[in-house]
Subunit: 232 residues, 2 copies
């Protein structure tokens, strides 16, 4: 299978390393892989260093699927204050499912809709500690997903059994899997388990040559996709 088949399912996390000019860096990284990947996500590390206005400007002039990953987890009026200068030009915004609907995610979803953006909820995370909390409270998070009806969910590439379960339970939602590469998730494994997109950060974005790092990661990902198609 051609590496580009996998690469087109990759979303690049643009968290800048120390010591770079953040928007120049993001533009250079995105510029070098944009044609091969599905989109990018930016979060607090870029917003803090570049400022809301410049991040919004970067999103407005960039193509692809643009995710704003602030992992929002506050009451509704604070989340709206935070989004004020940022929401335009992003296609979707990531918030935590565990904050619940009323007074939080329901208002956020409606606010995003007014601004032409979609809501993506963190259903679980990629670090080891997520097992003790997110996984242990699955039925509670399922109820939030049903009552809030987001567009998509974030499910960890480091634990593909969670991806598989969520694909069955919430079949109609778009699934994003972070944790591929530096955090240990094998490229292709989450897509094989039912994810729509895999999110890759440092192993592409912090590379001296992002396109060649994407390509070598995508070659492994494409082999995996080919295998899981055969396995069924």
């Amino acid at each position: 299978m051609d590496w580009r088949v996998y690469a087109s399912r990759v979303i690049v996390a643009l968290d800048p390393p120390s010591g770079v000019e953040p928007i120049e860096w993001a533009s250079r990284v995105w510029g070098s892989v944009a044609g091969f990947t599905a989109g990018f996500k930016v979060g607090w590390p870029l917003v803090l260093r570049a400022g809301a206005g410049r991040v919004s400007g970067f999103a407005c002039k960039s193509g692809g699927l643009r995710l704003l990953d602030l992992k929002l987890a506050d009451v509704a009026h604070v989340m709206k204050l935070v989004l004020e200068e940022l929401v335009d030009c992003f296609d979707a915004v990531i918030a935590h499912a565990f904050i619940g609907g009323e007074g939080a995610l329901i208002e956020l979803r409606d606010y995003l809709e007014e601004h032409g953006a979609k809501l993506v909820l963190v259903y679980s995370m990629s670090h080891p500690g997520a097992r003790e909390t997110f996984d242990a409270c699955r039925s509670v998070l399922d109820a939030v997903v049903r009552s809030v009806s987001p567009w998509g969910l974030v499910v960890p590439a480091t634990r593909v059994e969670v991806v598989r379960e969520v694909r069955v339970k919430h079949g109609d939602l778009v699934l994003f899997s972070p944790g591929v590469g530096a955090q240990g998730g094998e490229p292709g494994a989450a897509i094989c388990a039912g994810a729509d997109y895999e999110i890759v950060g440092r192993s592409i974005a912090w590379s001296d040559d992002p396109l060649s790092s994407l390509r070598s990661l995508a070659e492994r990902g494409a082999r995996r996709l080919a295998e899981c198609r055969v396995d069924g």
Copy 2:
């Protein structure tokens, strides 16, 4: 009871309204109530509008207990990237208990310790939706609190039964209660239930005359404290 007895247990949330110069606004509000209250908390709304460097500068020249309420809820390496330019001059940083210890809160606690700051965890929140999630997963959150050993916890002033329960279960921790005022929590009720501090935002900080708004809120709070001391 003198209103100042209650006021000295108040932490003012400095989330700027639209259309103000954020640091000038924060300095003016804090300047007018600093002598009477315990401290302030700032979060994303101020950081986004003023930038990390200026918020850090504001904290460095301000007295009182200084809380950085970013409600962090990400993997360890992202939380550290976010704090890089912000952590100095804050006494404590707020993160979500829900993200779990390993790969997240344990690394964060150690990082804060190196920077002379303490960790405060969100145990529950003040909006109605928090009942479906935080409250339903209490035993999971209790286990995180025991394994991470934070300095303090955030418990909602809008549901004092949660404050009462946490005071018994985690007696040695400092308890902060947000949701007083605009969100409906009655001043004094959370302290009566065992909180150490009540966090008040808009009803003081967005007032044309913050000190007189503090005073009238604190008069109600002090009456409540007097009552609960008598009730036991």
